[in-house]
């Protein structure tokens, strides 16, 4: 039976030459991609109001090449540093980094920490699948303790990061975490993050059914999303639970939303002062 195929309402935001993705079937990346575009749409913004920046890894392929906008696809771990330069040159654009947990917290950890410290106005979406997916399932700083991966065949001996706590310690002014089971909440949070005049960090726990799920025995895409549904706990609820009860749970929600000096604004004030004083020469 043939029937008409309708254009998705968000298809206008997709690059014409990049309509289908290289993602594995069931990959959580696509759920997040749609949520980001939905947020842009609901805000009444255009893709030309944005510059997207991504590093290396499967989630970096969320904006690159699919988003029909200015997109910079950088070296591994560095999208935040590239984005810092872009924001300094185009302060009126919304700069959004979309990259993975390995890219942003392992090789890119230093840039994450300092951008959060500077509270530079950008949105950083950290797609956390707990593994290095693109390269075949190696252990990541977010892989649970004890898990067998291709580089920890006898079990991961390391504790994973709580990325949101790391970024909070570094000084970001907006921090949130959801999973791909929560796309509607992601949209709401993303709208706030985009409009935030500060470093807005959104961690999204996302299923990697092939390199995490199948290789580590954690299940297929639907099973992983069911796991997120069963094991995500709101911040309010988590505060009433004992630490042991939180083992293996994912605390979700918006954790931090504060106002503090933001880098681009402060640098503009520096310029005003320097120009008024006639400079140092």
């Amino acid at each position: 039976m043939s029937m008409a195929v309708y254009d998705h309402p968000l298809a206008k935001y997709i690059r014409p030459s990049a309509k289908s993705t290289a993602n594995c079937p069931g990959c959580g990346n696509g759920i997040l991609a749609q949520a980001i575009l939905q947020a842009v749409d609901e805000l009444g913004l255009s893709m030309d109001d944005f510059v997207f920046v991504s590093g290396i890894g499967c989630s970096a392929w969320i904006p690159s090449p699919s988003f029909f906008a200015d997109v910079l696809h950088t070296t591994h771990g560095r999208p935040i540093a590239f984005a810092t330069g872009i924001k300094a040159a185009l302060p009126h654009k919304h700069v959004m980094v979309v990259s993975g947990d390995g890219d942003l917290t392992a090789i890119g950890g230093n840039h994450l920490i300092h951008a959060a410290r500077r509270n530079i106005a950008m949105t950083v979406v950290c797609v956390n699948n707990g593994i290095y997916g693109m390269t075949g399932g190696q252990v990541a700083p977010t892989t649970p303790l004890g898990l067998m991966t291709v580089t920890t065949p006898f079990g991961n001996a390391e504790n994973p990061f709580d990325i949101c706590k790391l970024v909070e310690g570094a000084g970001a002014s907006f921090i949130a975490r959801w999973t791909t089971y929560h796309p509607r909440q992601i949209v709401k949070t993303m709208k706030k993050a985009i409009q935030k005049k500060g470093f807005a960090f959104v961690e999204v726990i996302s299923q990697c059914p092939v390199e995490f799920g199948r290789k580590t025995g954690m299940g297929n895409s639907v099973q992983m999303m069911e796991h997120y549904k069963q094991n995500s706990v709101s911040l309010a609820k988590a505060k009433t639970m004992a630490p042991e009860a939180l083992t293996g749970k994912m605390v979700v929600g918006e954790f931090v939303d504060i106002t503090k000096p933001e880098l681009i604004e402060t640098m503009a004030a520096v310029r005003t002062r320097a120009m008024a004083s006639g400079g140092g020469n």
């Binding site: 810092t84 230093n110 004083s277 400079g279």
Partner: protein, 384 residues
């Protein structure tokens, strides 16, 4: 009142400051950097001057981030610079490759110091000549200029920006601890007298699905961000429209050769060589601070009746092979003077192969400059 970007007039200034002033005169309004001896004064000068002329200086968390930030800001439409030394270049090389592959104009000032590794930060050496040419992985072309005076620190930095904009490529300015910190007279002309090149931009209202923004040997217009071109910029192998292709070797073949060809095809426009070799039997080939020695040796040698000449490489890369060969045809021998164990020497030797013999002479102590007497002694020995 806003400060002047171009400090027209006569100055007594250190080389590092002259590089900073050259950047400002060329239109640089964004710099990022990380402290490293002996380059730090470039950043310090820009930290003071850039905000006063409406620009931005950011001290980043490391050299890797500095190089990333200047590439990002370049895609944001600005002329950008970073300054570092050998160890910093080592850290930056991955992102320098990124700038080459994405055709991003930017300038890197490398104030070379004693290496390898941490070495001596305050001693001059010409240790990074090969690093800036081949340090990043793969086959690629690069442009590198080597000033020999404070005036040239200014002039060559302006030139570096112009070449970066013209060819959409990162360009090195190679000085060293000696040049960076020494003070000499610097004459800065009126702004109108300073030639400034700007990158060719994508036409308004066009997106990159319909017009190529990459891989043109005659330099594609740049689809700078923020203007609605919807540019897809990736260092993955891509086609002329920026579309990633990590499957076909045939795409990689084009990617490598077009980027390479862009510089090679215009090499005559880029290479800068100066010489004083009329009637010379032996020509001293040198660059950077060591050119000052070569020039002094030739003067002293000629006073003693020797038929000496000099050839100064203003650009180290692309390499002046044709110019070297042309000189080699007219003389009996070339002697390459470098403050290292012979980096450009092998290229000079290859260019003059079969035409004239080429020998190499380091200073008696690496990290110090050649003594006139030592060089003249070597000249007399080869004549014998």
């Amino acid at each position: 009142m806003t400060e002047r970007a171009v400090l027209t007039g006569r100055h007594f200034m250190m080389g590092n400051f002259a590089c900073a002033e050259g950047a400002l005169a060329a239109g640089c309004r964004f710099a990022a950097g990380y402290p490293i001896t002996p380059a730090t004064e470039v950043a310090e000068r820009l930290a003071e001057r850039l905000p006063a002329v409406g620009g931005t200086f950011l001290q980043m968390e490391d050299e890797i981030g500095s190089m990333a930030a200047i590439i990002g800001a370049s895609w944001g439409g600005m002329k950008t610079l970073t300054a570092t030394s050998g160890p910093g270049v080592s850290l930056m090389l991955e992102n320098i490759g990124f700038a080459v592959g994405t055709e991003t104009p930017c300038v890197i000032v490398n104030v070379m110091r004693g290496g390898p590794t941490t070495g001596i930060p305050t001693v001059e050496l010409q240790g990074d000549v090969i690093q800036v040419r081949r340090g990043s992985h793969g086959d690629y072309q690069i442009i590198a200029l080597a000033p020999s005076s404070v005036q040239e620190c200014f002039d060559y930095t302006v030139e570096a920006f112009n070449l970066a904009e013209r060819f959409r490529t990162p360009v090195f300015v190679l000085t060293d601890a000696f040049l960076g910190h020494m003070r000499e007279e610097l004459l800065i002309p009126e702004p109108e007298a300073i030639p400034v090149t700007d990158r060719r931009l994508f036409p308004t209202g066009v997106d990159t699905e319909s017009l190529p923004g990459f891989l043109d040997e005659d330099v594609a217009p740049m689809p700078v961000f923020g203007l609605g071109h919807k540019a897809h910029v990736t260092s993955s192998c891509h086609d002329a429209y920026g579309r990633r292709n990590v499957v076909d070797a045939s795409a990689l073949d084009v990617f490598i050769k077009k980027l390479h060809g862009k510089i090679e095809a215009h090499r005559d426009e880029i290479v800068r060589v100066a010489q004083d070799a009329d009637g010379a039997e032996i020509v001293l080939v040198s660059y950077g601070s060591i050119f000052r020695c070569a020039q002094a040796v030739v003067e002293a040698g000629r006073a003693g009746g020797l038929k000496l000449g000099w050839l100064k490489l203003g650009t180290l890369w692309p390499f002046a092979d044709k110019e070297i060969q042309a000189v080699a045809k007219r003389v009996k021998r070339l002697i390459v003077l470098e403050n290292n164990l012979g980096q450009l020497f092998h290229y000079v030797q290859a260019a003059a192969a079969g035409v004239a013999p080429v020998s190499f002479l380091p200073p008696r102590v690496l990290g110090e400059m050649h003594e006139i007497a030592d060089v003249l002694k070597a000249v007399r020995e080869v004549r014998a």
